[in-house]
Amino acid sequence: MLEIGDLKFNSRLFLGTGKFSDEKIQAAAIEASGTEVLTFAVRRMNLFDKDLPNPLANIDLRKYTTFPNTAGAKTVEETVRIAEIARHAGVCDMIKVEIIGDDKTLLPDPIATYEACQILLDKGYTVCPYISNDVVLAKRLERIGVHAIMPLASPIGTGRGINNPLNLRYIVEQSSIPVIVDAGIGSPKDACYAMELGADAVLLNTAVSNAKDPVKMAEAMKLSIDAGVLGYDAGRIPVRYSAQASSPAEGLEFL
């Protein structure tokens, strides 16, 4: 059981809802993923093209924990404003604090993230910051009371998988709050690897929404995360430099 603040989850897959080409496929992919947590963004309504599909129309949001992000915010003030909008709308069970500090890499701004987390904690939110693979920042954020840490696997939407397993492992080992690996997951092996490194959950979006078959990929992610959790709990063997035979060395005299 995964616990974040007062919330409890059986599934360790958090699913983003962006970039699905089709509402029905999105709904089927959400179902296949077994997720209990869906992320959203806040945007200005497009008043001139109201025929644009509502990506959330086919989803019964009461069945899920809604996890709005602050994507698009570049400052502390913008982040707090988006969080307040989400809470006002009643869709904010937790808030993903995402403050992009660099437009090219979409890497998060650590200083603004820290400041925004402090304010949102004071306002009573369940706060989950998106961060780079920075062990010290993770520690500092935990110290001020954030409810989970969301280090990236690799830059958003790149599908490059886990770029820095060592630092991710450091974060997991020193953290006593949940670690959710977020962004850059490309394939089921990446999600499995995150869990094998000891992560508590994975948040992914593009890997499913842009897959050739999003519904199949959603199920594959679910299975790979389950496999990763089992593998981590089972305890993997150490990596060795030299070969060690699996078959006995004795009883070969007949050769």
């Binding site: 983003g16 809802t17 962006g18 970039k19 699905f20 999105q26 992320t39 959203f40 963004a41 806040v42 945007r43 200005r44 309504m45 008043l47 109201k50 509502n54 990506p55 959330l56 709005p68 992000n69 994507a71 307040e84 909008i85 989400a86 006002h88 709308a89 869709v91 958003i156 962004a183 948040l203 992914l204 979006n205 593009t206």
Partner: protein, 66 residues
């Protein structure tokens, strides 16, 4: 009177409420969050809340995102 809605100027013959504005723009109020001069407005007061000359409104919604 004129007001700014999502960055665009809109003109009306008389003062209106948020509810009449949404109606005029043909917007489903179940989908949106309204910010009126920087303040978040509860849906229960859309019918009473007057929109005055030079007011600024943001009509916001939740969209897919990761």
């Amino acid at each position: 009177m004129q007001c700014t809605v999502n960055g665009e100027l809109h003109y009306f013959e008389k003062d209106i409420t948020i509810a009449t504005l949404l109606d005029h723009l043909d917007v489903d109020d179940n989908r949106i969050v309204v910010e009126h001069n920087g303040e978040l407005i509860k849906k229960s007061v859309f019918k009473q809340q007057a929109v005055k000359n030079n007011d600024r409104l943001e009509l916001l919604e939740f969209v897919g995102g990761g």
